[in-house]
Amino acid sequence: MNDRNLESKDLSIEVADLTVAYGDKPVLWDIDLNVPKGILMAIVGPNGAGKTTMIKSILGLVKPAAGRVLILGKPYHKQRHLIGYVPQRGSVDWDFPTSVLDVVMMGRYGALGWVKRPGKKERDMALEALDKVGMKKFSDRQISQLSGGQQQRVFLARALVQEAEVYFMDEPFQGVDAITERAIITLLRELREAGKTVVVVHHDLQTVPEYFDWVTLINVRRIASGPVDEVFTDENLKTAYGGRVAFISHRKQEANEHVDIGEDRE
């Protein structure tokens, strides 16, 4: 199966001919991508492959040189209320003077729109989301006192209160402990069960077959995209990670290892 023969009504994300360049250096080159509804998808590729840029250009945060993006059939700016975004944890200043609850409530700001203030409803939603990620007792905590895993949970809670249909998460597993990683993946699965689409920039090839049901491999160009057991092959990984000799040797090994694991399970 290939993502190209999916029908439009079943798609949550449609990307066509997406090209992004910084100056004359293409970061993403003519990407086509169709993501069906209700799946958990990983975006993988070597460093500098354009994974974060791809999410950012789908979200309109980076201006593409060419291409068209549709979310649930409409352009992004018409669908903002249906989209949840979790940036990289390191992209914000955790010394900012604010509390955990306050950060989670920011997830409601989009629904509130300009000027309108968050109230009791937003507060309750935020507390509920914090409860879900196991952080309720930290709601009054200053964000500067959180550990890396706790920061990530707060970001996730914030995404939950966005009540989106399509979620984009940039390396949510980056630098979190094993327990938090479990908690996050459980949560992502719950979102999928609820019919949401979750797109995750992911670094750890090892866990791709276990965590995700759909995968997109990119390295500036799209290498492959589709169900993990069809697309996450040795050959595709070689194409995606090839050329980076120093980097590839252990990665390839890793990739081989769990392609094996994948076959064992079948």
């Binding site: 989009g110 309108k116 500067s144």
Partner: protein, 369 residues
């Protein structure tokens, strides 16, 4: 106090608070230097507008200055985007160009008006009450007071109305953009406010001291609280305190009021730097010292419990043994023992130490952790 003194202090207070409000967001956005750039570059806007309207009190000057401020920010960003120049260098390149153009224009074409470089750099608060606001012939106070009160109100309204937007655009611009609360709009609105505030305050305190009033109170408040609302309030209070104490210092020592006010913002910053609860230097030192002793006591009780009831216990529990075991010097070892005794973790019999129940419990907890 005579009326002029009261008026000067009122102006000083209003200027200080008006500067502190947008300053909070400059500090949080790590854009403190931008206030320096803007406060200088707006001179060009003021001079150009003055050539057009030939009136120093015209509101057009404020608008022109605000536009120059935004121009400064845009030029810095443009230069920075080329990636040939880093942001701090870009700031250092842009504003001196605009500022020097202003200075040259003044010296060449405006030698005979009250727009000299001294006034630009330092301002003169003492002269502010001479310019009266007299609608329909009634004198209702100095013009500067009304201009600054208007700017203060503008800043206050902006922060109150767009509080949520300012917060999210400052903390997480990526999220703000993705939910449609454009951080670019907030950014340029804030920069315009900084420019308007700078041009208003400029007349009273000059361009250099505007920077002190914008940055020092928020930087001090940042150390004192973990809540954005309180940071804004404390910044404003420090601004007021700096204005009043600065005025009276200037009065007593017969020096420049603006200079004295700026000095006081520095004094308040230093006070906060050393004395702020939790984040101040004093509290950091105290915490470090406490941790040092607590850890030493823990090491001691763990050591004692390790050898307790064993044949070597007598040797291991002697005070003079500690120096060998921990590489503590004699003095430090004795002080640790005193403190451990005081906290009832150990008792000493002669020079032999014995664990108390409390000590045993502490040792257990320390090892488990």
């Amino acid at each position: 106090m005579n009326p002029a003194q009261i008026e000067i202090q009122l102006i000083a207070i209003v200027v200080a608070v008006a500067c502190a409000l947008p300053g909070v967001f400059l500090v949080l956005r790590r854009m403190a230097l931008m206030s320096d750039a803007i406060s200088h570059a707006i001179l060009l806007g003021i001079v150009l507008a003055f050539f057009v309207v030939k009136d120093l009190a015209s509101p057009l000057l404020v608008i022109a200055a605000a536009l120059t401020g935004v121009l400064t920010v845009s030029l810095v960003e443009l230069l920075n985007k080329t990636k040939l120049v880093k942001e701090d260098a870009a700031i250092g390149l842009v504003f001196p160009v605009l500022f020097s153009m202003g200075v040259i224009l003044i010296s060449r074409f405006a030698g005979d008006v009250h727009l000299d470089t001294d006034a630009v750099l330092l301002g003169e608060l003492a002269f502010a009450p001479f310019n009266r606001f007299e609608p329909f012939g009634y004198d209702i106070g100095p013009i500067t007071l009304y201009v600054m009160a208007g700017i203060l109100l503008l800043n206050l309204l902006f922060i109150i109305i767009f509080y949520k937007e300012l917060k999210v655009a400052t903390f997480d611009p990526g999220l703000a953009a993705s939910i449609g609360l454009s951080p670019a709009i907030i950014h340029y609105a804030l920069m315009s406010l900084v420019s308007v505030t700078a041009v208003g305050a400029f007349d009273a305190v000059g361009s250099i001291l505007v920077v002190a009033l914008m940055i020092a109170p928020p930087a001090a408040a940042y150390l004192m609280t973990n809540d954005l609302k309180w940071m804004i309030i404390i910044s404003a209070v420090i601004g007021i305190l700096s204005a009043v104490t600065g005025y009276w210092c200037a009065h007593i020592f017969d020096v420049s009021i603006a200079g004295s006010m700026a000095t006081m913002t520095g004094v308040f910053f230093l006070l906060s730097f050393f004395l702020a609860p939790k984040r101040g230097m004093l509290s950091i030192w105290q915490r470090r010292s406490r941790q040092k002793w607590e850890f030493a006591i823990k090491m001691l009780v763990v050591h004692l419990s390790h050898h307790e009831n064993l044949p070597e216990a007598k040797d291991e529990s002697r005070i003079d043994h500690l120096q060998r075991h921990f590489e503590w010097n004699k003095d430090f070892a004795e002080r640790v023992v005193r403190r451990a005794e005081k906290s009832e973790s150990i008792i000493t019999v002669g020079d032999i130490m014995e664990l108390t129940d409390k000590g045993r419990q502490l040792a257990g907890e320390s090892v488990v952790k």
